[in-house]
Symmetry: C2
Subunit: 491 residues, 2 copies
């Protein structure tokens, strides 16, 4: 059905911060940007999984204004696919019902009569083909004006997921849809055990398929305060569009009004706001393996364990640990006799905890935030649109970075008021602009950028350029930068 699929859009929700995977996740590197399972990051896997099922220009990412640029850079490795993907930006995070409502407003104008698939950006679905098969089925239900969701057959009495209770014996003919009786919030262990043995309870996957018009009318019915605000937002976004140029919304000339409207919305989830209240919900019992990766222990469901029940990744040496997760990078993590534990190492922070308390990692992040520290914000290696930099050391009066520039990449023309910089090229060739003069610096050569000097670093070559930067100055923080020209639009 290639023709019909043009009217199907994939809406990927990518607003999460992913505190629960600290120290691997940071504010600037939330869970969807991590490669914790599979061959790529969760967000890029999500896009690749759906691409082709819908045309790439029908893939939408819903995220907040402040995260959009980082996500755009994060998608670069996807090449032309990254360029096709479109963004719907929320002024700020307001939970899933407003985010989905905003996407529905967009799609209803740009592609009337379309079907939308709503997907989180940070779940694990190892078998894409099974997922797409189930998705095909779900679209049949959406066409008949149902809200279709996917239920995962529980394999244990899990207390970390919401449940969907289906009407027993409700199979709608050969297609296998189940009629939903109700949505159930995360249960305690006793209830979870009952659900597990009952057979009519499924885990709520958070993936939904429906007509755009249908979800808007359900919002109108069940969230009467959200609907009129969405219509008001629509009128601002599409104010000057003529009917035949509805490819994209206008740049709103009232951004403050938009922000104000959006920030007033109740932060309600689509499950609580719509799914629990609607009478038209169907569930597809998923044939695909799934995890919402709600915490480090979720890896147990989705990654292969060794014969002792361990998941060991990176530079580890273990002696007789059992049922533990050891996530290392470059540094050595040596473990002896651990049982049911989680150890996660990153260059600047290590987490050690028991599996049953892994959710409390939020408390560590809270403590870091309250103490004005940095280990919850960024990694030592920071990905940038032009490559990456790694802080090797920071001391009194200096900071040392390794900077990697992708082929043909170009930093902004910039200036620092409080620091000078020594650059030593350790691989590749650098093109340096310093106060108007431009020159090349080869491997094993160095150059110097005095304070208050306009400069720019480029990689004119076809291999990565690596330089060691030694910053000197009383103040060596990232915010001492004035940008004059930037190919990534960051001036």
């Amino acid at each position: 059905m290639p023709h019909q699929l043009k009217d199907i859009h994939a809406v990927i929700l990518a607003g999460g911060s992913g505190t629960r995977f600290w120290p691997l996740s940071r504010e600037a590197c939330p869970k969807q940007m991590l490669q914790i399972v599979g061959e790529d990051t969760l967000l890029r896997q999500t896009i690749k999984r759906i691409n082709g099922f819908v045309p790439s220009e029908n893939i939408w990412i819903v995220t907040t204004e402040d995260k959009a640029q980082d996500i755009r850079f994060h998608l670069q490795p996807l090449g032309s696919l990254a360029k096709s993907v479109q963004f719907i930006k929320e002024p700020l995070g307001r939970n899933t019902a407003p985010a989905i409502g905003l996407a529905a407003i967009y799609l209803n104008r740009l592609s009337p009569g379309s079907i939308m698939i709503v997907m989180p950006s940070d779940h694990a679905i190892p078998d894409a083909q099974k997922f797409l098969n189930d998705l095909k089925l779900s679209i049949e239900g959406a066409k008949e004006d149902y809200l279709v969701t996917f239920g995962i057959k529980p394999c244990r009495p899990e207390t970390g997921y919401g449940y969907i209770k289906v009407v027993k014996g409700s199979e709608m003919g050969p297609k296998g849809f189940l009629k939903v009786e109700r949505f159930v919030e995360k249960p305690n262990l006793e209830k979870a055990k009952t659900y597990f043995s009952d057979g009519s309870y499924f885990w709520n996957s958070g993936i939904f398929v429906w007509k755009t018009s249908k979800i808007l009318s359900e919002i109108q019915n069940h969230l009467p305060s959200l609907y009129p605000t969405l219509k008001e937002i629509e009128s601002i976004l599409f104010k000057h569009n003529k009917p035949n140029e509805l490819k994209e919304p206008n740049k709103p000339n009232e951004p403050n009004k938009l922000n104000e409207l959006y920030s007033r919305l109740d932060p309600v989830s689509i499950d609580y706001g719509i799914m629990e209240r609607s009478a038209d919900v169907l569930m597809v019992p998923a044939t695909f393996q799934w995890s919402d990766l709600g915490s480090w222990t979720a890896l147990d469901e989705i990654l292969g364990k060794d014969e002792n029940g361990n998941i060991l990744k990176g530079n580890t040496i273990d002696i007789e640990s059992q049922n533990s997760i050891i996530f290392s990078g470059q540094r050595l993590i040596a473990t002896i006799g651990l049982k049911d534990m989680v150890v996660v190492d990153t260059p600047d922070a290590t987490l050690v905890t028991t599996k049953d308390r892994v959710q409390e990692v939020r408390k560590i992040v809270d403590a870091l935030r309250q103490n004005g520290r940095e280990e919850h914000l960024v990694h030592k290696t920071v990905e940038r649109p032009w490559g990456s930099y790694t802080v090797l050391e920071k001391g009194v009066g200096y900071k040392i970075k390794r900077i990697v520039l992708n082929p043909e990449a170009k930093l902004s023309l910039q200036l620092h008021r409080k620091r000078s910089e020594h650059w030593v090229v350790v691989s590749g060739i650098a093109k340096v602009t310093r106060e108007g003069e431009t020159y090349l610096v080869n491997t094993n050569e160095s150059t110097y950028i005095p304070v208050n000097t306009k400069h720019r670093l480029e990689n004119p070559g076809e291999v990565p350029l690596q330089i060691i930067e030694v910053q000197n100055g009383d103040y060596v923080e990232e915010d001492d930068i004035e940008r004059f020209d930037d190919v990534y639009g960051r001036t």
Copy 2:
């Protein structure tokens, strides 16, 4: 008794490798060089504790040839005291009986009729004054031709220590010596419980006091194969000395013969070889607190715990852990809900284990050795006689170091065949010699040392000099160095 104390010598055994404190201890940084308890490293504390009780020139360190120079550098912070301390070098490690025998041979020639105090270099004795009081008593026993040792009153049924069983009711008058019935090897838990409740068992502290002549005659009686070899070694060492110049032995002109003799010795401990066999052993029940620091868990005896039974050191955030030891440095170690665990972090390796398996850290070190790795050999920061260097990063074709030179320190005049070096001064002033030319490099200036170029780095100032060194070359290992002149005798 100032006059008599001149004839008392302190012999500090410093041959240990201290695998059991990995990753804090390394081959190049054994346990005695660690500051794990108290204000200084264990070895320097040991020297400071005894200094004054005996004259500083009567303090001897027995260690192996290969460790002697590093230990000499390690003592530098002791200033003039470091210069007084003398070394007795074993060609290689052969356990305590040969080491003590070698020391006795020296002292018997250099200071006939002397008393020697034998002390490990890596034990914790927090209260020096109590220790010296007990030591004074022990010397009275040694003068009467007893082998005197110190027993520690057990505070729990410990299986990690050897025991001394004393003859009940054997107190020798007011002095409080106890007559030793026998030495007992490390017991199992059942036996340890019996010993603990019995009251006549003490922990064997490994500290001994005796006349030099007495221990030699006991060696002659109980270790008949050791004694003649020691006499042969003596004849080589003191071959050309005339009776009135016996201040120090000659440089042996037969070093190979010496090595051969020493390597043939049975590696037997003084406890097994002498103390368990001699009839003339007395024990002083120690009034001082003591730990042999046999493993990470020994810290529980000697360091203060918080209200949850934890010992937290360095950059840590903990949530509700109990009875655990968390040793961190600069990097953040975040822990949640640990019980009876040990976590030790260093810049390149982290250990996580349970307290009851902490002895198995040896297996980790064995694995590292077998796999040809480096994490058991050196730290990222290496102490040198002139200061220290820290490897910040090593990559393909480059290595980055932070180098700290003490005031007025001077590296060797040297040359590298396979790498060039870029130096950026980040604090202090550097004096650089490059192919005969000498010049100053100020903070925030840099210089370049091409491959195959003789060069030298000095700190002419009175504050530490810090430079960042970026090495370039296909081969950037430490052994690419030719030294032409070195103030520390390393050419």
